[in-house]
């Protein structure tokens, strides 16, 4: 079958491929352009180069095991993806999570959002020639990732947010790390504002380029910063408040014209709001219920396992230094929900009941089994409304899991938007849409 662009090709025009492996394609997407001189007459997008069958895999994994695949959707802000999936499950199972865990989730989500916006804008600016901005923004992201690395143990594929709470508490010095990340990000944002926001070259390439009207944006199903850049007030955090967003004071920045520059500016302003939210969360977050003294007294894990071989051990066990130890009942402040969370590891290793509970959780056909039915839940992702639609048939695997990827709807409009513009306009337009291959192709 011929491509649409080939079927519609006019006399005397040139067909040009941009991608799939092109530095500005943020992954692998193929943009086919029909050019009259330098003007774009027609455009077609081909995607699917990164299709990994996410939805098919999920149908064959248990609810607990498929969490790791959600990291790989939007690999720039994996924590928001985790939150989206986990909160869909919580809605279906009817779990309320502890308050501290909610605050931790909000802090992590907001930092992820900043990372997402930083990456999107860094790539967009770099493609317009501002390499300094790219490096500055990557630097700010490193400070944020310091906190994430300390807390989650990973930089990108975190799998940190779990059904029933979060996997581990913040490290003891998290406030200093967070403070530093906030300060450095503020500094970078100020620098980048100075370098870019009034830069004539940047303005020429983005101002009044690829203007999208609010009606078109809504008709295309745009959400997130791209929709708000056209002046439409819609933010999942405000419309359907989840976690503790209704207790936080933040604004939703709106654009006026809906061009590339507005999409850039809305993201810049949103990052400042996210930083504000993190600061408020730092003040409001309830005290950690994790008793640090438990780390000091009690048996060493190895000793406990040894003694449990001969007799039932009643003594306290020291928390193991790795993250596994935090999945204990002794941390009710961050992870709750009997039957939905991994049983504490030290019980598994020292008591027979614990071992049975462990097997009951991981055995095929057991584990998390939500009631029959279907559920849709969405969170505000980095580039828009990230929704999960899960159909359960009462077994331990989802019958169907569908992801509403925000950038899918946004990128699908590129074909129409760039028509009539020049080849050079494709780059900032595509950059401002923040296409994420993992999410788009699933």
């Amino acid at each position: 079958m011929k491509y649409r662009i080939q079927q519609e090709a006019r006399e005397g025009t040139m067909l040009l491929n941009m991608g799939p492996s092109h530095p500005a394609m943020h992954g692998t997407t193929r943009i086919m352009l029909e050019l009259d001189g330098e003007k774009i007459v027609n455009c077609e997008l081909e995607m699917g180069y990164l299709h990994r069958g996410f939805e098919k895999i999920c149908e064959n994994k248990s609810y607990f095991n498929l969490l790791i695949y959600t990291d790989r959707l939007n690999y720039v802000s994996p924590l928001i993806n985790n939150t989206g999936y986990v909160m869909t499950m919580e809605k279906m199972l009817g779990i309320d999570i502890p308050e501290r865990a909610q605050y931790i989730r909000v802090i992590m989500c907001e930092f992820s959002r900043i990372c997402d916006h930083l990456t999107a804008l860094a790539a967009m600016c770099m493609e317009c020639g501002a390499f300094t901005v790219f490096l500055y923004m990557m630097k700010a992201r490193e400070y944020i990732w310091d906190l994430m690395e300390q807390t989650t143990g990973a930089r990108m594929t975190t799998s940190y947010i779990r059904i029933g709470g979060v996997r581990s508490d913040f490290p003891s010095d998290w406030k200093e790390t967070t403070q530093k990340a906030i300060e450095e990000t503020r500094k970078v944002l100020k620098d980048c504002h100075g370098l870019i926001s009034k830069n004539k070259i940047f303005l020429n390439r983005t101002r009044d380029v690829a203007v999208v009207s609010p009606e078109t944006a809504i008709n295309y199903g745009w959400t997130g910063p791209c929709l708000r850049s056209t002046g439409v007030y819609y933010d999942v955090r405000k419309t359907y408040p989840y976690l503790v967003y209704d207790q936080l004071d933040f604004e939703v920045p709106l654009g006026e014209r809906g061009d590339n520059f507005d999409r850039y500016m809305v993201r810049m302003l949103e990052m400042e709001q996210s930083l504000r939210m993190v600061e408020q969360c730092m003040e409001k977050i309830p005290k950690s219920s994790s008793p640090m003294h438990l780390m000091a007294k009690g048996l060493e894990p190895a000793e406990a396992i040894k003694s449990s071989r001969t007799k039932r051990s009643e003594a306290e066990i020291k928390l193991s230094p790795n993250l596994e130890g935090t999945e204990k009942d002794k941390y009710p402040g961050i992870l709750t929900g009997k039957g939905y969370i991994v049983p504490p590891k030290e019980d598994t290793y020292t008591t027979i009941e614990g071992l049975i509970r462990h097997f009951k959780f991981f055995m095929r056909g057991h584990g998390i089994r939500p009631p029959k039915g279907e559920v849709y839940f969405s969170v505000e992702g980095g580039s828009g409304e990230l929704g999960f639609y899960i159909v359960s048939d009462g077994t331990d695997k989802p019958y169907r899991l569908h992801l509403r990827a925000p950038c899918f709807h946004i990128v699908s409009s590129l074909e129409d938007i760039v028509r009539g513009h020049y080849v050079a306009d494709v780059i900032p337009t595509f950059g401002s849409m923040n296409m994420i291959g993992g999410e788009l192709d699933r």
Binding site: E59, K91, I218, Y220, G221, Y234, E374, Y389
Partner: protein, 161 residues
């Protein structure tokens, strides 16, 4: 001028009494189940004032293998001014996988329907360009159907020009 969920459902029931099969709610979401012939009419009704379901949030398909009406189309509509979500569902028979396309009304339905066609083989009547979205030309079968094996391999295809 916001309109309540109950009023919308009542109006819908009144307007489409013979094509709506059931209206249920689960986990706080309203689900409207209807005959597939009425799809375009219902969507055109909902898009108007004062209901204003102007955004198509999501469109997907579920394969209930073994049931008489095998495929279930699921539409999520969203109203910005009323801040309401609505889920529309209809069933397709395996012998006749045709359903009206929403792409004349919602522009993002173009890609969403291409995805549903790619993954489930649903035929959309009136779609301008029904071509596989994720898979390549020459791919056999529809991967998200329940009878498509997880680890099935496809033969290599010749290099396209």
């Amino acid at each position: 001028m916001a309109i309540s969920k109950e009023k919308i459902l009542e109006d819908l029931n009144k307007e489409f009494a013979d094509s709506i099969i059931s209206v249920t709610a689960q986990f706080g979401d309203e689900i409207i189940f209807f005959e597939k012939e009425a799809l375009l009419k219902i969507v055109e009704f909902l898009i108007k004032e004062p209901y204003t379901f102007t955004m198509l949030l999501d469109l997907t398909c579920v394969d209930y293998k073994g049931e008489k009406e095998r495929f279930e189309m699921v539409y999520h509509l969203f109203s910005l001014s009323n801040k309401l979500r609505l889920r529309l569902k209809t069933r397709l028979n395996e012998a006749n996988l045709e359903i009206d396309s929403l792409s004349p009304i919602f522009q993002n339905a173009n890609w969403l329907e291409r995805e549903a066609f790619d993954m489930f083989g649903v035929q959309f009547k009136g779609h301008p360009y029904l071509r596989r979205l994720f898979m390549y030309d020459g791919f056999e079968g529809h991967p998200l159907r329940k009878d498509y094996p997880l680890r099935k391999q496809q033969p290599r295809i010749r290099l396209r020009d």
